[in-house]
């Protein structure tokens, strides 16, 4: 299914999502701007923006074999998202970065730090922060401490002073991004939305790949275009929600949408999870506000042991609000975190009478025949009212 979207601004997003570098990033670098990479959605972009740097979320786009990374991460036992991402690092595709912050989530992600540090492509600035694995005031306070440490290191290395005022302004900017992205998601509530799930993924991935102000401007334009667009009449089959880790490609959406369905919502690390809520803009301590947002407001990662009830609630809320017919839980092989979470969700959704398909896949599996067959069978089951 295609939305028929014809937009220059969308093409800008799509090209940013389909490759690692992109014209907006190059323009920023060309103007002397610095870029700080990061690996997990819990690394707050606000802190990077406040230092006058451009945040870039590191991903494995374009990788085909992960051969070099497999020397560092055992291929059969470590998630392919990590391996392909690190392979791109080793191939020099991230040489444009002026530094990186590894957000230590799962075991594999944490070790990007150790491996990168000892690799021939080690950047001059390489740091790590650890997201707390439980939610509560003490954890938010602890995370604030880590952010304060990172702030000092960024200031020292990049010669930037990160004042509270700069932090507040970065918070406003990033909140605006989230708010615009929520508006984009809201457009898919309609029966015949002007944008597909696959196209939405590209707009979201672009969000962590180009300067924020520029992105917000472009996204405002796209939203205007979409609101005024005449959407061709088409028959949409099942409305699907995708849940799982950081899928930064459109392959699953493409499968669903080519089969006539619509990906109406998602709770993934490049999508629905990053647009949830906003950081408090008022208050005496912006760093604590950022920590509270990350630790208390959106604990949607199963590496946080208190996350499940939040994931479950958010998922059910969206299933109801967006009239979702079925849920696809996709994770990568060797991802214990999401493997377990999807197992639990599957049991619970079954009891709630909501069809769910669980898939374990490789990062680079494209639209493999087996995935297509399973999704097709799932969509047919939903349409036929059968149980899964």
């Amino acid at each position: 299914m295609k939305s028929g979207l014809q937009s220059e601004v969308f093409e800008g997003f799509a090209s940013a999502a389909r490759s690692i570098s992109n014209p907006e990033l190059e323009k920023w670098k060309g103007g002397g701007g610095k870029v700080l990479g990061y690996t997990c959605s819990f690394v707050p972009e606000e802190l990077i923006v406040a230092a006058g740097l451009m945040p870039f979320r590191i991903r494995g786009t374009g990788s085909l074999t992960a051969e070099s990374a497999n020397e560092y991460f055992e291929a059969a036992n470590v998630c392919s998202f990590i391996r392909h991402t690190f392979d791109q690092v080793l191939q020099g595709r991230y040489d444009f970065l002026d530094g990186a912050v590894i957000g230590g989530g799962c075991d594999a992600n944490r070790h990007i730090y150790d491996n990168w540090q000892k690799s021939p492509v080690k950047p001059q600035f390489l740091e790590t922060i650890f997201f707390p694995h439980a939610s509560g005031e003490p954890m938010a306070l602890e995370f604030r401490g880590q952010l304060a440490g990172l702030k000092t290191k960024i200031e020292q290395h990049f010669g930037a002073e990160i004042t509270d005022e700069k932090l507040r302004s970065a918070v406003r900017l990033c909140n605006e991004t989230r708010s615009l992205q929520r508006d984009l998601y809201a457009l898919r509530q309609s029966a015949n939305p002007p944008i597909t799930g696959g196209e939405t993924v590209e707009v979201m991935v672009a969000g962590s790949s180009m300067p924020k102000e520029r992105y917000n401007t472009m996204l405002r334009t796209l939203l205007e275009e979409l609101r005024g667009a005449t959407v061709p009449e088409r028959k949409i089959g099942a409305r699907i929600m995708i849940v799982g880790p950081g899928h930064d490609d459109t392959s699953m959406c493409d499968i669903v949408e080519e089969l006539g369905g619509l990906v109406a919502a998602d709770l993934t690390c490049f999508g629905g999870k990053v647009i949830f809520g906003s950081v408090q803009e008022e208050g005496p301590d912006p760093l604590q506000a950022i920590a509270d947002y990350q630790v208390l407001a959106r604990p949607f990662c199963p590496k946080n042991l208190g996350a499940h009830p939040h994931i479950q609630k958010e998922l059910l809320d969206q299933v109801r609000a967006l009239r979702v017919d079925g849920v696809i839980g996709q994770s990568f092989l060797c991802c214990n975190m999401w493997g377990g979470e999807l197992y639990i969700l599957h049991k619970e959704l079954k009891e709630a009478g909501i069809p769910m398909l669980r898939l374990e896949r490789e990062y680079v599996s494209g639209s493999s025949g087996q995935l297509q067959t399973r999704v097709q069978a799932f969509l047919e089951t939903i349409s036929g009212g059968g149980s899964c």
């Binding site: 560092y72 944490r110 003490p138 214990n336």
Partner: protein, 405 residues
């Protein structure tokens, strides 16, 4: 010597199963169930039983029905390549075989698989009514981290008190800590004695000692102290007499840089020792770094609990922290225990170890230490059989010239 000592181990292991894998268990002693390790001293002082579901799953894989437990876990479909100790634990849980605990404690220590188990425990519907407490184990190792985790352990005590309706007897806790410190000291003494060439005692006694002292039924009991005293006494005597392990002509000393798991000790390691004189002088459960629990104040006591928990418990030391710590341990052990080689079992379930193999290989190469990476499943010998592992290791020892062809 080994057989006599193993009896306590066998009894104690059985005790853990009786406590945990028995929904009909009628004992009225409250049970605290954790997904992984916890500070044994606290439940003991509170007069509670404590069980660790990961350890239960891991020990389950050694039972005659071990393969069925693993297969049951695989059929659940949690994550196809997850550690089989955890799959077996998940199977125990999801098939209703675990006694309902009075309290549940979950932490992220130490690995992704254990977190998955924690999530399953917390979402397990029949236990929805059981009070629970979640802790965040940091990946950092400094005084601040110990204080942070120590505060959570202190909070956990308040939580237990609330559920039990009675207060912690602090004198009793101190008493238990004194016993625990004695045991740690004995483990360290035994470790020192094992540095002798030839290795004076069955190396696996160190693993048994650690498990007995901290993890299974008789934890922190005076019985374990006596057991350890006897091990140390007899080993000291053997060192004085210059004796090695009975019936072993020691030719090679190696480090098995992982847990022994459920099948390697009695098969591969025993055969290597007996047939080739290749002695596994250290593994990652036996490696003791215990520091005494500081009883000077409540705050110090909890900070030292935290240090033990975060830094000194085997799987946590291995999986929760940086590669620098892991590699530092390898170099230290090789030097102090005069190892000729490092064997990296590289258990397929360890996401952490499988993310650092190149760095380990590089360091070993730089330091001239022969290193063999196996890639086995320490809980399931069907993955790569003991015979194949034995052959690979003996070929490696021969090819590196450590043992004559």
């Amino acid at each position: 010597m080994l057989n006599a000592f193993s009896q306590l181990m066998a009894q104690s292991g059985k005790g853990l199963f009786e406590l945990t894998v028995n929904p009909q268990n009628e004992s009225t002693t409250p049970v605290i169930l954790c997904n992984g390790d916890f500070m044994a001293e606290i439940p003991v002082a509170l007069g509670c039983e404590f069980s660790d579901l990961t350890l239960t799953g891991a020990m389950g894989t050694a039972l005659p029905e071990g393969a069925d437990l693993i297969d049951g876990g695989i059929e659940l479909g949690v994550e196809s390549r997850m550690c089989n100790a955890i799959k077996s634990a998940c199977y125990y849980l999801e098939s209703g075989k675990i006694r309902t605990p009075e309290m549940i404690i979950t932490t992220n220590a130490c690995c992704d698989s254990m977190d998955t188990l924690a999530n399953l425990m917390n979402a397990y519907e029949p236990w929805a009514h059981v009070p629970r407490f979640i802790m965040d184990a940091p990946h950092t190792l400094d005084e601040e981290s110990y204080a942070y985790f120590g505060r959570q352990l202190r909070e956990a005590v308040t939580f237990f008190e609330g559920v039990l309706g009675r207060k912690m007897d602090w004198d009793r806790l101190r008493e238990v800590c004194v016993e625990s410190n004695k045991q740690s000291q004995l483990l360290l003494e035994f470790q020192e004695l094992k540095k002798a060439v030839p290795c004076p005692a069955e190396p696996d006694l160190a693993r048994q000692g650690t498990e007995l002292s901290r993890w299974i039924k008789h934890r922190v009991s005076p019985e374990v102290t006596r057991w350890l005293e006897e091990v140390v006494r007899l080993t000291e005597q053997r060192v004085k007499e210059g004796k090695g392990i009975d019936g072993v002509d020691e030719k090679v000393r190696f480090l098995w840089q992982d847990l022994a798991g459920s099948w390697s000790t009695g098969t591969v390691l025993a055969r290597l020792q007996k047939e080739l004189g290749a002695v596994c002088v250290m593994d990652y459960v036996s490696y003791a770094t215990w520091t005494p629990i500081d009883l000077a104040s409540e705050e110090k006591m909890f900070a030292s609990f935290a240090k033990r928990f975060l830094l000194e418990a085997a799987m946590t030391r291995q999986a929760l922290h940086s590669t620098d710590l892991f590699i530092g341990d390898i170099l230290r052990i090789v030097k102090e225990f005069r190892c000729d080689a490092v064997i990296m079992p590289a258990h397929v379930g360890h996401r952490d170890t499988n993310s650092r193999l190149k760095l380990v290989r590089d360091v070993c190469r730089e330091n001239g230490i022969p290193c063999l990476v196996l890639g086995i499943d320490i809980w399931d010998k069907r993955f790569i059989s003991p015979d194949v592992v034995f052959d690979r290791m003996s070929t490696f020892f021969q090819q590196t010239g450590l043992i004559a062809s």
